[in-house]
Subunit: 194 residues, 2 copies
């Protein structure tokens, strides 16, 4: 048996997923056409479908990438600042990430856009959001164990409210004429009162 390796793709599949995530994040699912992706990824239709199979398949990869990096960033933040510090810093970080294609959460945007259609991608976005919420709950739990916040509150409920606040903050941050930094500061201050 002979193993042929006659040609490698000229593109970096991983980098393409990153770029696709940015386009989808900014423009949404219906708002992003194959033409947009071909232009942004510099891929002809044939190569695109050879690499990813379909627009939805690539969107799923982009969602997964987005969620993975979100968890990783939060975890790294907690290692640097501790559980409470991370929870307080996160609001500031998400609205000031200058390189990001949008302020609003891609998972939330996906869910809001596609849930009414019962689209599979909405379900996947929901799963990723639940993962994020579990991260938040874990941080609240660790902050309690570290004595940084009172043990009187249910970490799950704190996480639910915190995630809701972040979603609102990030949506608000999309608008001009809204002082998102004030909102972020207020959310962080709320944690001091726990």
């Amino acid at each position: 048996m002979v193993t042929w390796m006659p040609r490698k793709p000229s593109y970096d599949r991983d980098a393409l997923i990153d770029r696709a995530r940015d386009v989808f994040w900014r423009q949404g699912w219906a708002g992003t056409s194959l033409k947009d992706l071909e232009r942004e990824l510099k891929l002809n239709p044939g190569s695109f479908y050879a690499a990813f199979g379909s627009k939805d398949a690539l969107y799923a990869l982009a969602l997964q990438r987005y969620a993975q990096e979100g968890v990783a960033r939060l975890t790294a933040l907690a290692e640097r600042l501790g559980a409470k510090g991370a929870l307080q810093e996160q609001p500031r970080l998400v609205i000031e990430a200058t390189g990001a294609p949008a302020k609003a959460c891609m998972l939330a945007k996906t869910y809001a856009e596609l849930q009414a259609k019962d689209h599979e991608l909405a379900g996947q976005a929901g799963v990723h959001m639940a993962e994020m919420k579990a991260c938040f709950a874990d941080l609240f739990r660790r902050a309690q164990e570290a004595g940084e916040i009172s043990p009187d509150h249910d970490p799950e409920r704190l996480a639910t409210r915190y995630q809701s606040d972040l979603l609102g903050l990030r949506l608000s941050a999309e608008r001009s004429n809204v002082d998102a930094r004030a909102v972020a500061a207020d959310i962080a201050a709320d944690i001091d009162r726990l």
Copy 2:
């Protein structure tokens, strides 16, 4: 001069705008096709364009209707419960409105979907959101004047945070597996601490 009035439309234009608002609210702008509207409004293409001019024009009317009714409901609530009572009841109301086509705010969904395209409808949604924020600020101001909450906080800042919280709440309420009523209760409880 003779005035002819040979025939009236067979439809109730006002009711059609309501129905269109519900479809757009649920499915979004790109997610709603002319076919959807024709089926839902029972209008053939010709009648549709004679009545509304374009999909975007009808969407603008639907947005306007949505915002008007939102302000009216909040105003009525304040007359019944007072300023502070209205602010505390509103979170509960918006997530438990059983007849509504969606929990999330139509203005926010519109803004999130269309802002990246610099679509005019996103601008209009932003204007309506600013109007809503002004309502909130007014209620906070009146609650302060009535001695229901402390005068120490800036009503504008309170309104900004409150609107952000409501956006997050209503987005969260779209998801199953999220206890939106707990979040609504927490938001209402926050107002008691002012």
